[in-house]
Structures are given as C-alpha cells and as structure tokens.
C-alpha cells in the first residue's frame, strides 16, 4: 500500500489552492500535514480522498492510477474537524454503517463495532444518538467509524481542533495507539508544530498551497530546508535577524561582532538571515560566547508555567520563551542574550545553509 501524488494541483475560481505537488506516502506510516490556516491542508486531503479532482497530475494507489476513481470505490476513511456523524442513527449504527455497506455478516459487524467502541471508550453510550453525547465522544464516534472500515488510507483533518484542551490531550495520546493498531497510512492535518512532533512519523510542511518539505518529523524540525518551513515548524514562529558574514565573523545590525567556531568558518562571506527558536532567547548572560542585545519589551503572555515575551530588537520583533512567571513592565528595557550556537543560517534565497546540527559542507555550500 502506498499513495503517490504526481504533480497534483488544484485551482478553483482562478485561485491556486495547491501548487503542483509530488508526495509519496508509504505503507504503515503516520504523515502529518503541518501548516497554518488556509495553507492547503484540507485541499490536499480532499484531493487524496478523491472528494475533489486535481486539475493537473495523477494520484496512484498501490501503483494504480486512481485519479478518476469514485470516492465510494476508494480504500479510504476520513475524519473531519467538525464532528460528522449521522444524526438519525445511534452510535452503534454509525460505526456499523460502512460495514453494512461492505455487506459483512451481522456477527462480524457486531464484533467489529464492539471492538471499536471498546477501543474508543464508547461502550457506555453505544445506544445513544450523536447529539446526546459530548463533543469528545462525537469525535471518537467519527473516528471509530473511520477505523472500523479497515482501510489503507485514513485521513484526519484537524480532528482535535474543535475540542477543549482536556479532551484534546486525551485523544492526542490515543491517536498514535489507534494508528499502531490499524497498520494503515495515516494522514493527519494540524496547525500545531507541537502536535506534529508528538505524533512523530513524517511531517509535510505546507505554506500557501505548497509542500515546502517532507521527511521524518525530527529531521524537518532540526533542519528546516528554508525559512518558510522554519517559520511553520516553530511555535511561536522562529525569530530572525539579518546578519553579514565576513572573515572576521558575523556582524549584527547594531554593530556587534561574534566569531564563528571552526565548523561555520567555511560559510561563504555575504548577507544571511539568522534564525533561532523562542526558547533560545535568554535573559541572563551566564554562558561564554553568547551575545547581548538591548531590547524593549512590547508584550508579555503568561501561559501558567512559562512566559512569552515579545521584544523589539534592532528593527526586528522577537518572541522569547522564559521559564516561570516573569513580571515585566511594558516598554521596559531588557538585556537579552543569544548563543550563536543555536543559530540557523538562511541564504538570500531563503534556503538553509547551516543549522546547529548541520554544517555548511553537508548542505553542499
């Protein structure tokens, strides 16, 4: 089982929703589509499902062209962001409905439905109608129906987005378990980098209808191949500063200079965008080799255990993650520091040339 998209694109009303995309998803893999709202996650999924026809390109399932195959005849299941169940049927009948269509024997259906209900903790509400159970249960019912079908490709379009925090946590841990049990190809769309990392598997980052990178989650996170991917796969988005590199080291816009250690010395001279993640922005200078900047505090956000600070530094707006609850005055001048070890360097074409665990040589520069 494998799903292959071959230069698939989608244009509707003169607007390009999906630029020509090539993607190959292998048997038994978890694939996360990560991107902000309206980046094309849902459009791409609808193409994979066959709910929409691509304007160009072909879709192959197990090597066979399924581009024009009806939705009914495809080996797929889908869970929507909205809790979609058949309101006139009980939970039991909802889960059983795809099995009845497949003309399974009633004992087989009964066993499967009970198994799915058990797996998704729906046994106690199995005789109720969808509008008589909680939102979390409704979404679990939708998942149970999708998984009961035993298909090769399970599509989940932000299934947890409409749930409250507690239920989301709960289901987030269930999904990898369900995935393991099913052995299908999972495609999971989300806007949260954290969720993509938690689910693991492969991540495809999307931006404006383009897949910017596809690969194992940790690889994409550690080495985002361009600035856009780095922004998408970082919450809060990655901070950037324009720097100039020459023989002496790296010059910052405020005139500060930092020497590069040997492995970055081979970076060719020129202008770069240096990026770093929020948790690498620090307050106190206790590490040797870190650079200090004057910053002005714009906003603080308390999350409970941590504090996000938004600061203005050298015409850039940076977001930092501080441990604990910090109290600052808005407009306060702060001294912040960064360790150049944590920098990602992107060239003029916004391509990654060096990252904390990737040296310039490896990227072929």
């Amino acid at each position: 089982m494998s799903l292959r998209l071959q230069s698939v694109s989608k244009i509707s009303n003169g607007e390009t929703h999906i630029y020509p995309t090539n993607l190959e998803l292998q048997k038994g893999t978890m694939n996360v589509l990560l991107g902000p709202t309206s980046s094309g996650k849902t459009s791409l999924m609808r193409l994979m499902a066959g709910l929409d026809r691509p304007d160009t390109g072909k879709i192959f399932w197990d090597g066979a062209d399924v581009t024009k195959k009806r939705v009914q005849d495809r080996d797929i299941a889908m869970v929507y962001q909205q809790f979609v169940n058949y309101p006139s049927m009980t939970v039991y009948d909802n889960i059983a409905s795809p099995l009845k269509i497949q003309k399974k024997s009633s004992s087989e259906i009964d066993a499967k439905v009970k198994e799915m209900a058990e797996l998704l903790q729906l046994t106690s509400v199995i005789d109720r109608k969808p509008n008589e159970i909680s939102g979390g249960q409704q979404q679990r019912c939708a998942m149970a129906r999708a998984l009961a079908k035993d298909v090769g490709l399970v599509l989940m379009d932000e299934p947890l987005a409409n749930l409250d925090y507690k239920l989301r946590e709960e289901l987030r841990f269930e999904i990898p378990r369900l995935f393991e049990a099913s052995g299908s190809i999972f495609v999971y769309a989300t806007t949260e980098p954290e969720e993509a990392l938690l689910l693991g598997g492969n991540t495809a980052t999307l931006w404006n209808g383009q897949v910017t990178q596809y690969g194992p989650a940790m690889d994409v996170y550690r080495d985002p191949l361009d600035e856009t991917t780095a922004r998408v796969y970082s919450d809060p988005p990655m901070n950037f500063v324009s720097v100039r590199k020459d023989g002496a080291g790296v010059h910052f816009p405020d005139g500060q200079l930092t020497r590069l250690n040997e492995d970055l010395a081979s970076l060719s001279d020129g202008e770069y965008r240096a990026g770093f993640r929020a948790h690498h922005l620090e307050m106190s200078d206790n590490q040797s080799g870190s650079i200090e900047f004057e910053a002005e505090l714009v906003v603080t956000e308390l999350t409970g255990s941590d504090t996000y600070i938004h600061v203005d530094v050298m015409d850039e707006r940076w977001i930092g993650l501080m441990p604990g609850l910090q109290t600052f005055e808005v407009g306060q001048a702060l001294k912040i520091c960064l360790d150049p070890q944590n920098f990602f360097y992107f060239d003029k074409d916004r391509k990654l040339v060096a990252s904390p665990n990737r040296k310039p040589e490896e990227s072929g520069i």
Binding site: Q72, Q82, V84, Y86, S97, I101
Partner: protein, 283 residues
C-alpha cells in the same frame, strides 16, 4: 442617591404595567380570531329556522341533522373524497419533483443556478386565475378534464416552486461533510439520499407537505374550473348550494367545520417547524 432610586424603580413599574396589559390584549385578539369560527360551529348545530329567526349565542335546539345530511349524501361527501385525492396526489408529486431539485440547488453550482432558483418563485407571482383558461383548454383537448390528476398537476405549478424553496433551505442546513462522509463510507447516492439525508430533513419534508396541502386544499378557482362532476372538490360544492328553498345555512356551516378539521390536524404535526417553513427554511 435619589436618581439611583428612581432608576431602580422605573423598570419595576414598567414591567408591572406590561403584565397587566399583555394578557388583556392577547385575550381580545384571541376572541377576535375565534368569533367567526365559534359562529360557524354553533351555526352547524342549529336548524335553518333558528339561524334566520333569532340571535342566539348557543343553539336552542341542538341538532346533528346538518352533519347527517353531508355524511349521507354522496354529492356532499364525495367532495371531501375528491379533495383528498387530488391534494394527496399533488403533495406526492410536488415532493418527488422538488426533493432532487432542491438537493441540486443546495449542493451544486451550475450555470445560471441563481437565476433559475429565483425564476421558480416568479411562477407564484401570477394569480392562479391567469392559468385557468390555458389549463381548461389544454386538459379538455387531452381529455384530462374532470380528473383528479388534472387538478393535482395544475396545483403543482404553484406548489413545486414553493416546495423547492422550502426544502432547499432545510437542506442547506445539513453540512456537506455529511454527504461526503457517506460517500467515503461507501454509500451510493440513492442509498445515501433515502437512508441518511431524508431522515435528516424529515421536518422540512413535513413542513413542505403542509404548505402544499394548505394551497391545494383551499384553492378554489382552478379546481372548480377543471372539474365538473367526478372530481369536484368540496370548496366548489360549497359555493353551489343554493337550492330552490334558498341557502341551506346549517348544512353549509357543517361543511365549513368539516373543511377546517383536516387543516387543523395537519398543522398539529408540523407545529414546531412551521415558522421555519414560512421563512422558506431559512432561519
């Protein structure tokens, strides 16, 4: 301080006054609405002489003779049977035609869909009388005159557009994702439509059927023009009961009461959804 007190008191005083006025207005209005119906009902239990001779709020000599006349005379009760036949036929045809049409309007975009949707409604802007002449001539020449199906088809001209509009409103309230989920589950279109979609818009179908009933049951002009004996509706019979001895007031009143009853029964079943129907399903 005093300003605060006054501000506190004013809403209380106002709400008290509202409590007193409200029920009175309501009661007056209800009486106003019910007087003609009450009058019709008591007339149906009076004899002709009592109706014409004296002013009584309650029948002096309570009689069921008027009702007996209607239920024993085929020329009377066949009117009800005829009305029922063509109203039912009309409801079934209207729904069968309007359900797929409304689904198409609610789910697909096609060339000129908005114009067509609006154009449907313009059919209702012409008075039925306009169509009496063409229908009469057409049905006479294809020998459909004085049949139930003739009246049912004529009423479809007005009921199908209305049914499409009401059903489209109800269907639009069903998320498209339900359709897609059903197709992904493997449902064929007809199976999805009958097993999943129809149960979801059942209230809408009920309301649509009611509106078709309401038009077809009370419509007089077309049904009278297109029938003579075999399919003559009750409303037409009621307008022709001037006998040699003058108007038979009591029997007419009884016929009126019997004509109201089916409507009252039908409206009872859709009472919770009727407002949405008047708004053409768009609430």
């Amino acid at each position: 301080m005093s300003a605060e007190l006054r501000a506190d008191k004013r809403p209380v005083a106002r709400s008290r006054r509202r409590v007193r006025v409200g029920p009175v207005v309501m009661a007056v209005y209800l009486v106003f609405l019910l007087v003609p119906i009450y009058w019709l009902i008591i007339m149906s239990f009076k004899s002709n002489s009592e109706i014409l001779s004296s002013f009584t709020l309650f029948p002096d000599n309570f009689t069921l003779k008027n009702y007996r006349t209607i239920l024993e005379d085929p020329s009377w009760y066949m009117g009800y049977v005829n009305s029922f036949i063509f109203v039912s036929l009309n409801m079934v045809i209207s729904l069968l035609v309007a359900l797929p049409a409304a689904y198409a309007f609610s789910r697909y975009r096609f060339f000129g869909d908005n114009h067509l949707f609006f154009w449907l409604l313009t059919n209702r802007m012409a008075p039925p009388a306009v169509f009496a002449l063409p229908f009469f001539q057409l049905y006479s020449s294809v020998s459909l005159f004085d049949t139930h199906i003739a009246v049912a088809l004529a009423h479809c001209l007005f009921n199908v557009p209305l049914a499409v509009w009401i059903l489209e409103g109800f269907m639009r309230g069903v998320p498209r994702e339900i359709d897609e989920t059903a197709f992904i589950d493997g449902y064929s279109f007809p199976r999805f439509f009958t097993r999943i979609f129809i149960p979801m818009i059942a209230p809408g179908i009920g309301v649509t059927a009611f509106f078709c009933f309401m038009f077809s049951w009370v419509e007089l002009l077309l049904s009278r023009t297109l029938t003579s004996v075999d399919a003559k509706p009750i409303t037409a019979i009621m307008t022709r009961t001037v006998s040699a001895s003058g108007l038979d007031w009591g029997v007419l009143a009884a016929a009126g009461v019997l004509t109201i009853i089916p409507g009252a029964i039908v409206i009872y079943f859709v009472r919770n959804h009727i407002a949405k129907g008047f708004a053409l399903g768009r609430v």
